[in-house]
Symmetry: C2
Subunit: 334 residues, 2 copies
């Protein structure tokens, strides 16, 4: 069996760490694993299949001989290293938003538009976490009738802000339980016992860049260039699964029964009809696994051509690391 | 100055306790305060204007001589005592949902339809907490152009489930922080570090009774009998303020500027443009006060006739106790 040299750019962050786990779990045939991080982390080790692997400092010379580079760094770093990765001949599967709207770069959720990955010119973008989870939930419906528009409200976990977000919520919980004041540094105000209806930078139209991703990325992933999406992104005090309440308007009416059937049979989705006595998932139910759980599909009351539903998925896994490794898997399987 | 005999039916619950505080704060001229509760609580005391007042067991004979009865009990108890209250000649301001859709019973948010209170035949209903907060936020827009429909997603505090809800979140936070398992009794699954997208009982159309309240009550309060509302009610681990993300479709397009102006000048509303460097409220900001805070008003991207906004308000206060006392205040001022 062929095996591959795989680098993880940003191997020490929440997503990078999870990429290592998912590579193991999926039994990806890795010949050489190369964990790359900043100079600060270089020299440390990560575990991979039981062995210690030394973290190296990421430089433009790091990628020689690599087949794939999984990116788990921010936009600036991604832009900095992308040319060197492409030049090295590796395929760069990038979790940042740096290239997601570049028409030369496929933006891929393997279950929805996996075939787009093969048009890559060296870079494949991994979509935004809320976009992946929402689009997975509605992709079965889109097969029945094209989606014209969506109104989505998110309930986003703190893991979307990385290790720092996870630590901040944990520390605030501890402080508040001990009767102390919560310290805020990662989020703009207290997140424990609160929700924050603003993620990312605000644009001229009043939406944040995070909120516009669902429309911009949804158009490319669903191959619906006219798709319109109104999104409100809200951070909630949940560790690692995002939830989304979404109203989906289709060209022709789709019945609840048809939609449920489409979701039930959609790869990567799990329709929740009776889970521990509930007909809906919660973020805790969906943590540490890869399926997007969907429930509460019902006819929208304001538009005969619309359905309203609820979905949850693990932000670090299907929202980031697992989707990236699934893209890699699709590439090597073909 | 005339003063009034006021009973609180359910004086020991989260809402009943808050009604006592609000009666004091608003300087309602109370001649006699009568705290009523179950036999279990009778004999205990509540503080009112610094004095201990003995709690009495609620019976059908409790209401003689009362001018107003503020109800903070569940539907069954409300239905049980309402006839005796009406017979006594008192006006019953009821926070339960027992009579909210009874065409003989006005359903009142004083700022929006205060004049409806005067058509009462002995009972006035206090609306659902999420309905009050959402309708307060959009009522200014409704003055500019009638609202045709709304899509609302709620982020509801645990106080909506009363003292038991508040205790459950606090206890779960303590348990999780100590590395122990969270115990669930009030909510169907863990609420700390989680969200639960199901409040109330599910109806045949897939919506819960809680979710239908915004349409059913909104029609009566806004005097828009054709109003359509799709609502997803979600419990979040927040103590006492509800938040709602709402898309509002009006008959004619309303600009963001017009809407902001209408919200800014609407009594009981506060438009958030710069609060501690943020242009949005969070539930923590709005706890323990009566205004509904509104922010992030922006043009909906899926419908030219729609706006999308975010609002927060204290569930126990404007969502329940304060609105009830404001109704009483309106009655005695006229």
């Amino acid at each position: 069996m062929k095996s591959y040299n795989v680098a993880i750019l940003g191997a020490t962050g929440a997503v990078g760490q999870e990429m290592l786990k998912v590579l193991e779990e999926y039994n990806i045939p890795v010949n050489r694993l190369l964990p790359l991080a900043s100079a600060r982390s270089a020299g440390g080790t990560v575990k991979f299949h039981g062995e210690d692997v030394t973290i190296q400092e990421a430089t433009e010379d790091s990628f020689a001989g690599m087949d794939f580079v999984l990116g788990a760094v921010k936009n600036g770093m991604s832009r900095k290293f992308a040319p060197a990765i492409v030049k090295s001949g590796a395929v760069y599967i990038d979790n940042s938003s740096a290239f997601r709207l570049d028409p030369e770069v496929p933006l891929v959720v393997p279950e929805i538009n996996g075939e787009d990955a093969f048009t890559n010119k060296g870079i494949i973008s991994n979509p935004n976490c809320s976009s992946i989870i929402t689009l997975m939930a509605v992709a079965g419906i889109a097969r029945l009738s094209p989606i014209k528009s969506m109104v989505a409200c998110t309930y986003q976990a703190v893991s979307g802000a990385g290790q720092a977000g996870l630590m901040e919520l944990e520390n605030q919980m501890k402080a508040l339980t001990a009767g102390e004041k919560a310290v805020c540094s990662t989020f703009p105000t207290q997140i424990a016992l609160n929700v924050i209806p603003h993620i990312g930078d605000e644009l001229d139209n009043g939406y944040t860049d995070e909120e516009m991703k669902m429309q911009n990325e949804g158009r490319r992933i669903l191959h619906l260039p006219e798709l319109k999406v109104t999104c409100t992104c809200v951070r909630v005090p949940v560790m690692r699964s995002h939830s989304i309440a979404v109203t989906v308007r289709t060209e022709r009416p789709v019945s609840v029964q048809e939609a449920n059937e489409a979701i039930r049979s959609y790869p990567g989705c799990r329709l929740i009809e009776d889970y521990e006595g509930r007909n809906y998932p919660t973020p805790l139910d969906t943590s540490n696994q890869d399926l997007v759980w969907v429930g509460r599909v019902r006819r929208d009351l304001t538009d005969d051509n619309a359905l309203t539903l609820w979905c949850c998925g693990d932000q670090i896994r299907k929202g980031a690391a697992s989707n990236a490794v699934q893209i890699l898997k699709r590439m090597i399987e073909s």
